[in-house]
Symmetry: C2
Subunit: 356 residues, 2 copies
C-alpha cells in the first residue's frame, strides 16, 4: 500500500521567543547543531518510508512561503493551508481528504513538525511496523513514548500487555496529564506510554472514524475532497473548514474508538518544549553551557547562551537562558522560562507588536 | 586668595564596561538620572567656589576632545594632557605648576572627576571651610568621608579629636585598606574617616612639599612651569613628566608631611566603583530595580537594567546587572560584578579589541 505522511506545521510556538516570532515559529527554526530546521529534519526523517511527493504539510497561509523555501521538494499542492487553526482533528481531516483525492487508499503517517528524534534508524523501523499494523487491519495506530521519568506535562496511554502483535499492543485507555504522584505510579506500572501525538492509519480508516464519530465533519471533509484541484477549491475550504468540529483528534476520535494499537517509541523523542530543551540536545562545554555566537562566558555554568554577531558577556551566571537576536534579547532563569509568555503579554499590552 | 581647582580625569574605569570603554571612560558617562556626565557634575559642583576659567582638568590627549565637548566653558589651556598616566603625585604637580604660572599664589582644590555627591550645599560649605583652613596656614588639608559601614576597600585617616579648628581636625595618621575586623574597630572608634582623595592647599604650599619630599620632581615641575605658554611647552612636558616620581600623592606627600588637617565630609559621597552603585543612586521601581531603556522585566527584582533601543526582556532575575550597548551586552550577577575585568582580559586574549 502507498505510504503517505501529513506533517502538522501550523503552531506558533511562543516558548522560543525571541528567536521564534509570530512570523517565524519554532518548526521553521534550527534548534540543533546541524543547522537544519525542525521541519526539514522531520521531512528528512520520514523519507525512508514516504516519497517526498507524498508528504503533505498542514499549515496556514502565513507560513506557506516558509514551507516552500525550506522544503523545495514538496509539491505546492501538498502544502495545505488551514483557513484558521482549529485543533488537530480538522487538520488531520483536511490531510486525509487530500490524500483520499489522490489515492483510492493509502497508509497515512501523522507527525508534528517540531519534535526532535535522536535515533532515526529506530524511528524508521517503528513507523514501518506501525504502517504494517495499520495496513493489515488495526483501526488506528499511535506511537507512545516509553517514559523515563514521571513527566506531568504529557497525557499517557495505557496498553494491554497481554494483547500484542509484534511490537504493537492494544490500547486500554487514554489518560489526561497526571499529578506527580500518579505519574510516578504510571512509571512504576510499566504499561503507560507518553501520548506523543504521532499516528498511523489508513486514509480510508480515519475517514470511517470521522464518519462514525463526527458525521458533520465527515460531510464537510467529503465536500473539501471533491473540490481539490477544482476552481472552487479555496471557496469550499473556507466554508467547509468552519463546519469541522474544532477538537483534538485524541479527544474526538482516539479516546472514543476501538481496536487501537500502540507501538512503544524508543527512538529518543523530545518535543523541545522550551529553551531548556536546547541544553539537553546541543553540545555543551566543560561548564555544561550551550554557547553559540559571539560570547564571553566568565564563571558561568549550566546556561544556554544563544548569541549572534553582537557580543554577549556573562559573569557569574547559573542555570540561565540568554537568547540574543538583532532586535531583542531574552535573559531568563531556566526555572522561570515558562514565564516568557508574560513578556509577550506585556509587549502586546504596550503596543510593541513588532517584537511578537 | 584666588581659589582654583584641579579635576583629575585620566582614569580608564573598566568597571563600567560595556558602557565605559577605553575611548569613553566613566568620568565622561552619565550614570545618574539627570543625564549629566560625571565630569560635568563635578565642574558644576565646584562652581560656587571656583570660576570656570580657574578650573583645570588633568587628563590625557586621548580624552582632550571629550573634555572640550563636555565642558565648553573650560579654557583650552586649562586642559592639561599628561603624556602618560603616572599616578596622582605627577598629576597634581602638573596642575600646581600651571596654576603657579598663572597666579603668584592661590588656593587649589583637588577632586576626582568621577565621584558622586548627594548634597551639593554641604559640599560647598565643606570646601569653603577647607579653603579657609588652607589659606590661613595649614600645610595640607584633606577631606575625609564619615564612614557609615566598615568598608574594606578604602584607606582610612585617623584624626586627633582634641586638636580642632572649626570643623577641621589635625590628622594623626593615614592607614591602608583594613581587613573587616579592623574596619569595624575604626568605625567604633569614631576618629577614622575614609580617604576620599580630595584635597585643598595653597599652590605655594604643595610645591614646597614637593621641594622638601620629592626634590627631583620639584625641579622637573619648575621646568614645566617655566615652559607653560612657550613654544617648547609640549617638548618640556614630554621630557620632564618622566622625571616625576610615579607615586600617589597620599604615599609620596600626605603620609610624610606634618601639620595636615582633615574635614569630615558629610555630603553623601559615593565613588561609584561599579554597576552596583547605580542601584544605589538611580531611581528604583517597586521591585527595587533600576530600569532604563526598552525593557520588559517579568518577575525581576533588585536588578540594574540599563538598556537602549534594543528590547531587553528579563524573566526571573534577582540581584543582577544587565547593560546593553549597541555592540555588546553585559549580563552579570551583582555578587560577581568584580569579575567584569575577566571579560576584558578574555576579549584582549581573543583579539576582540574593538569591544575594549
Amino acid at each position: 500500500m502507498k505510504r503517505t505522511a501529513l506533517i502538522m506545521a501550523g503552531g506558533k510556538g511562543e516558548r522560543f521567543w525571541p528567536r521564534s516570532r509570530v512570523s517565524l515559529p519554532k518548526q521553521f527554526l534550527s534548534l540543533t547543531d546541524d543547522g537544519k530546521t525542525m521541519i526539514q529534519l522531520t521531512v528528512e526523517r520520514i523519507s525512508p518510508i514516504v516519497d517526498i511527493t507524498d508528504v503533505y504539510i498542514a499549515t496556514n497561509k502565513n507560513y506557506k512561503e516558509l514551507v516552500k523555501q525550506q522544503l523545495p521538494g514538496i509539491p505546492e499542492e501538498n502544502i495545505l493551508c488551514e483557513p484558521v487553526g482549529r485543533n488537530t482533528a480538522p487538520c488531520i481531516g483536511l490531510g486525509a481528504a487530500h490524500i483520499a483525492r489522490k489515492y483510492d487508499d493509502a497508509a497515512m503517517i501523522v507527525l508534528a513538525s517540531d519534535h526532535l528524534i535522536k535515533n532515526n534508524e529506530i524511528f524508521t523501523e517503528t513507523f514501518k511496523e506501525a504502517c504494517d499494523v495499520a495496513e493489515k487491519g488495526a483501526n488506528l495506530v499511535t506511537i507512545g513514548i516509553t517514559p523515563n521519568y514521571p513527566e506531568t506535562g504529557y497525557g499517557y496511554i495505557k496498553y494491554d500487555g497481554s494483547s500484542r502483535d509484534g511490537n504493537a499492543f492494544q490500547v486500554e485507555k487514554f489518560v489526561e496529564k497526571p499529578v506527580l504522584e500518579v505519574a510516578k505510579e504510571y512509571l512504576a506500572d510499566g504499561h503507560y506510554l507518553w501520548n506523543s501525538g504521532m499516528f498511523v492509519w489508513k486514509v480510508s480508516t480515519i475517514l470511517d472514524n470521522f464518519k462514525k464519530l463526527l458525521p458533520e465533519s465527515y460531510e464537510a471533509l467529503m465536500k473539501i475532497k471533491d473540490s481539490v484541484g477544482g476552481s472552487n477549491e479555496e471557496a469550499v475550504l473556507n466554508t467547509e473548514f468552519m463546519n469541522l468540529e474544532a477538537e483534538s483528534v485524541d479527544y474526538a476520535i482516539m479516546e472514543k474508538a476501538d481496536n487501537i494499537y500502540i507501538l512503544p517509541g524508543n527512538f529518543g523523542w523530545d518535543d523541545i518544549g522550551s529553551w531548556l530543551a536546547v541544553g539537553r540536545i546541543k553540545k555543551t562545554d566543560e561548564d555544561n553551557n550551550v554557547v553559540n555566537g559571539n560570547v564571553v562566558a566568565v564563571n558561568t555554568k549550566n546556561c544556554v547562551i544563544e548569541g549572534g554577531e553582537k557580543l554577549i558577556a556573562t559573569v557569574g551566571l547559573r542555570d540561565m537562558v540568554v537568547v540574543d537576536t538583532p532586535d531583542a534579547t531574552l535573559i531568563s532563569t531556566k526555572e522561570n522560562a515558562g514565564e516568557i509568555k508574560k513578556v509577550l503579554a506585556a509587549l502586546r499590552e504596550s503596543g510593541r507588536n513588532k517584537y511578537l
